[in-house]
Amino acid sequence: MLELKCLHKTFNPGTPDEVKALSGVNLTIADGSFTVILGTNGSGKSTLLNAVAGTFIVDSGSITLNGKDITFMPEHGRAAYIGRVFQNPFSGTAPDMTIAENLAIASMRGKKRRFLSALSRGAMREFYERVKALNMGLEERLDNNIGSLSGGQRQALTLLMACWNRPDLLLLDEHTAALDPKTAAKVLELTKNYIEKDRLTAFMVTHSMQQAVNLGERIIMVYKGKIIHDFSGAEKKSLKAKDLYELFEDIKRRELIDPATSEILKANYV
């Protein structure tokens, strides 16, 4: 179970570039649930995922994963519990290392790395089997540098690597956004399979309303660093892409009224 309490994060505080990227996020995610996050550009979705992953330490609030307070745990420490796939296919793999070497690094996530050969015979066999299961023919190219693969192939491998040792939490940040529709569908299919097979707790950012409607059992909408909508259960099931579009339109209308005016309106009418 993931519990976020009152998370705040301001980038570049006290400068003209100050951005309140998270302002009071409260959220509890049950084990084995698949949550989709929606929001306009710059609303703070990636920041929320990065806060959980430990890319930075939040200004205030607490993050608890499975009863353990990880608020101040460094990124590499949290990685023991968290698997991640990024939007950019280049971020999740080391291009100048072979597929096998990349997998070897992933297979040691959350374990103590030793002075033992990374590509032992047993490990290579396992790499071969699990890459074969991707059905992309990559199992014959384990000795090739990952840099020579396509973005979709890299993203599929990143997903495989993130789920190699069952993570307590899987963070997916628009991981299909940079792919062509066909590859995106394939990667999404893989994602669904992994989540279902290992009953993973997953957290996925997307811009596709259709994906949000089709996938997962909960939708969260983020706006200006806050959670403004939270649909789950029957409510989520009955949600249509059209409804989500309307909510977005609503946000856009709100944005047209500048903050100062809204302050005046509030003071006079509320």
Partner: protein, 312 residues
């Protein structure tokens, strides 16, 4: 023949420096100038330990390497924990090492003329007399036994250093280190402590540089505080020339090519000197060699490639 043997000896000794430069330059993508200070630190430490007589020559080499490792840790900590630009951190530590080396030696130059070094120990192991200057025929050319032994020892040390590095970079930790340089975001996401990896990597790189310095001092018979100056360029030149000659960048080939680059580069310098090039032009020639090594592959790419491109 002695000229050739001497060239190979220096080439192998400096190939350890090249291996260190390979780590900082090719794994972490910046040329760590700490190596210049570490090289002199290794030489100073070895010279002091050897003249003190308290340690055997092999132990002296090992301790020198550890001293270099400590210097690397310092640069790594400045860079990762205090967020100082990597080049700047290297320059700072290199500058500081200049004074440290003076303190280590207590003066700026220590002579190792008749001391026991790894080279003399190796001679004793092979029952080669220090005083008698025996010659043998190698490939029909007369060669001093001592020079041949020195070249053999340098070869053994360089290849074991290279093999050790190859082994390490293939371990779970070594792979994590390479990933840290190649894609830090991925490494961190997969639980690699990237800061620790950078610190460890720089410490290994500088241990190699220090070892190279300790051997150079043992071989040439003195340690001088100014020994490291300009050495980073030699190391980079070796790495770059090696890469140009061996066009495969996987770990094993990269290490082999750095050693070969170091040898080839030394040979070019020796030929130039032997052919009576004006020594005043040597630095210019170095720059031209490296430039050629950088530019030629680009021109060459248009044409054919070496045979056997992708047999795996």
């Amino acid at each position: 023949m002695n000229l050739l043997l001497g060239t190979f000896t220096i080439g192998f000794i400096l190939s350890l420096l090249a291996a260190g430069v390979l780590i900082s330059f090719r794994i972490f993508n910046f040329a760590d100038i700490t190596a210049e200070g570490s090289l002199a630190l290794g030489a100073s430490t070895a010279a002091v330990l050897i003249t003190s007589g308290a340690f055997g020559p092999a132990a002296a080499l090992l301790i020198s390497a550890l001293a270099g490792a400590a210097a690397g840790v310092l640069t790594g900590v400045l860079h990762t924990k205090f967020k100082i630009n990597a080049l700047l951190a290297g320059i700072l530590v290199m500058t500081a090492l200049y004074s440290v080396n003076l303190h280590v030696m207590g003066k700026s130059n220590i002579a190792l003329m008749n001391e026991e070094t790894v080279f003399t120990s190796f001679n004793r192991l092979l029952s080669i007399s220090e005083s008698a200057n025996k010659t043998v025929l190698i490939l029909g050319f007369p060669a001093s036994v001592k020079e041949a032994a020195a070249a053999a020892l340098a070869f053994i040390l360089a290849s074991s250093g290279g093999a050790l590095l190859y082994w390490f970079l293939g371990t779970e930790l070594g792979a994590a280190m390479r990933a840290t340089g190649n894609c830090p975001q991925m490494a961190a996401a997969l639980g690699v402590n990237t800061e620790l990896m950078i610190i460890a990597g720089l410490s290994i790189a500088n241990a190699f540089a220090a070892l190279s310095g300790a051997l150079l001092a043992s071989y040439q018979g003195f340690a001088d505080v100014q020994m490291g100056i300009g050495m980073l360029v030699w190391g980079l030149a070796s790495v770059i020339i090696g890469e140009t000659l061996v066009r495969d960048k996987s770990v094993g080939f990269a290490i082999t090519s750095a050693i070969m680059g170091s040898i080839f580069f030394r040979l070019l310098v020796a030929i130039a000197l032997r052919f009576g090039m004006n020594p005043n032009d040597m630095k210019l020639m170095t720059a031209l060699f490296v430039l050629a090594a950088l530019v030629l592959p680009r021109i060459y790419k248009g044409g054919g490639r070496f045979a056997g491109a992708a047999v795996k």
